[in-house]
Amino acid sequence: MDQLAQQVVSGLATGSIFASMALALVLIYRSMGVINFAQGEMAMFTTFIAWQLIETGVPIWLAFAATIVIAFFGAIALERIVIRPVERAAPLTVIIVTLGLLIAFNGLAGWIWGYVLKSFPSPFPSAPITIGNVSFNSQDLGIIGVSLLSLAAISLFFTRTKLGLAMRAAALYPDQSRVLGIQVSWMLALGWGLSAVVGAISGVMVAPIVFLDPNMMQGIVVYAFAAAVLGGIESPLGAVVGGLLLGVVLNLLGTYVEFIGTDLRLPVAFLIIVVMLVVRPAGLFGRLRLSRV
């Protein structure tokens, strides 16, 4: 029983890592309708920037704040330069551009900072907490907390603010939005900026656990995609729930199903998702697009 509780708790902790990244993916998808494959690498890159600032003596919280600002404006600049020329082109073209960004950012980070593993200070105090026989870390609670906060902030933004409404309109009905005077192009840029901010936050929270190197996000992004699909790729709530659920299910399967063990976690995770998609094609919280003939 203790082991079960422990695995669930560890699963929630790992899942929160997936959830935080999945949120960023969902944000981009909602604003642009494309998957940004470079999301993880951009998050990694901004985390390196934070690290560099801290290394040169900037106090931690100031460094984080600066990183978020840099991420926001940097992503908008990137969108204007690289995505805007192709924003009306086919989805596949944009996907390739994001793949190009992925490769370039990874190489750039390696070139600037090298591949030696680096420690990253945690924004949360790292104190092991033990309840009964179950142990976890205040860090994990911190990540879950921040993910939920981001989720709340994003939901409120999209549903309660004019700007959020404008962004949603621009993504779903670009032509009509233009007629209404909404600067669709800038809405897309804003979408990039916001998801880069969420990504930066995710990177900074996750780096103390997975340690900082140019490849730190690659494994996580894979699971984050899975989480986003599981939860419904247009639903921020789905991203968070999907992430947590995925973390727990993976741990439980790995522990209790001998056949799966720890080496088949990845295929099994995806099998679950595929099965889920066949049964419910829009994910747990996604909305199915029905077309009437």
Partner: protein, 416 residues
């Protein structure tokens, strides 16, 4: 017209004769990649992608070759090292090697990296009788395969031998240990597990849990929890740096205090320092590992001549490099052996000569290996480096326990 034809025929014949004679008159290059003033070596490393951390080896090796070239080269020859990126994928390695052999006409391959990658190119190189020297992985395959692939030679102590040393140690100091293993699910991790089981012999039944992880896993908390729950009191960590740190930290955070053994691939000050930072001293005190090289971060070697040479070379030829990165130090050690081999092969440098050198190699003065380590091969034993020294990490430092242990006597018992 007949006269034009005979004129052109005569012309061509004359040209042909000149070419023939001229060709004979040129000093015959004894071998591809070797001239009186130059020897060309080829290499493949992952310069990009997930394994790019190892590219540091190539950088250090190029630096060392530059240093040697600036001091007159080897037997009057400058070393040119052509290194290509193979992104750690065998199809790419195979193509790179063909290009290096057929276009760049390298004399030999040096320090090709990656077990799968080297397995893929081994048949081709041996068929063409091109030396495949000082491979950058610890797989046992190179030493075991010398009968079929005589031109191939490894360098670092192989993973199985290292695991056997740990097995011997645990049987001596903790004979009733309940053993848990966390290992990377690839040839690297699997080799260690095989070696450990071989070394434990009938005591292998004391292994209560084996947990693997994939490099795509974000963390190993699940595996560590399961290992703790299995009741193990001794943990073997056969993991690459990132996952080694995570394992050590996770163990500490789970308030678990097993006897810990760590693979020397991850036994560097930076790794253990990171683990101490994240998990406290409890995470790393008492960790047992082996070393065969000098760690640049270890204060013990601050005034060591070899370490000074290393720092000088790095500062001069790779300015801006982080010299605490242990891969650079190992790279220089590799390059030193390569230069040594070239020296021994002598002025008359051929591949057949190099084969001979591989079969009778001995070196005991490598500046970046622990004092006393001797590289040695014989025509029937290609386990070139077999000595390591057990270390215990305590209070931020490695403490050597005992002298060098030679795994050579145990090698017969290893499975391949």
């Amino acid at each position: 017209m007949a006269s034009v034809r005979s004129l052109s025929t005569g012309l061509f014949t004359a040209l042909y004769a000149v070419a023939l004679v001229g060709g004979l008159a040129l000093p015959a290059s004894a071998e591809d990649g070797v001239t009186d003033t130059e020897v060309v070596l080829g290499g493949t490393h992952p310069l990009s992608g997930p394994a790019a951390a190892y590219a540091a080896l190539a950088k250090a090796e190029e630096a060392y070759f530059s240093y040697v070239n600036d001091h007159g080269g080897v037997n009057g020859r400058k070393i040119t090292y052509k290194d290509m990126d193979d992104a750690y994928t065998p199809p790419q390695t195979v193509q790179d090697v063909r290009q290096l052999v057929e276009q760049d006409k390298v004399f030999a391959m040096f320090n090709t990296l990656g077990t799968a990658c080297n397995l893929a190119i081994r048949p081709y190189l041996n068929q063409k009788q091109i030396p495949q020297l000082f491979i950058a992985t610890g797989a046992t395959a190179w030493a075991r395969g010398y009968k079929d692939y005589p031109y191939t030679i490894g360098w670092m102590p192989d993973y199985q031998s290292e695991a056997i040393i740990y097995a011997q140690n645990v049987l001596k100091d903790k004979p009733n240990a309940k053993i848990g293993i966390i290992y990377q699910n690839d040839d690297f991790g699997n080799d260690y597990v095989t070696g450990l089981k071989t070394g434990l012999g009938s005591h292998a039944s004391q292994i209560v849990k084996e947990a693997s992880y994939e490099v795509t896993d974000p963390d190993v908390s699940s595996q560590i929890s399961n290992l703790k729950a299995s009741g193990a009191d001794t943990l073997f960590i056969f993991a690459t740096p990132k996952f080694a740190v995570q394992s050590l930290v996770a163990v500490a955070q789970a308030s678990w205090k097993p006897r810990e053994y760590l693979t020397n691939v991850s036994a560097s000050e930076s790794v253990l320092g990171a683990a101490t930072k994240a998990g406290g001293a409890a995470a790393t005190d008492g960790v047992i590992t082996t070393l065969y090289g000098k760690d640049p971060k270890d204060p013990k070697w601050a005034n060591d001549a070899g370490m000074k040479l290393y720092k000088d070379i790095m500062t001069k030829y790779v300015p801006g490099a982080d010299i605490t990165n242990g891969f650079y130090a190992i790279g220089i050690a590799y390059a030193y052996t390569m230069v040594d081999a070239l020296k021994v092969a002598g002025k008359d440098l051929t591949r057949a000569k190099m084969l001979d050198v591989i079969n009778h190699f001995t070196e005991s003065d490598n500046p970046l290996l622990l004092p006393g380590i001797t590289l040695k091969t014989t025509p029937t034993n290609h386990f070139i480096m077999t000595q390591e020294q057990l270390q215990t990490y305590q209070s931020g430092q490695f403490h050597a326990s005992g002298g060098l242990i030679d795994a050579r006597p145990f090698i017969k018992e290893e499975k391949s």
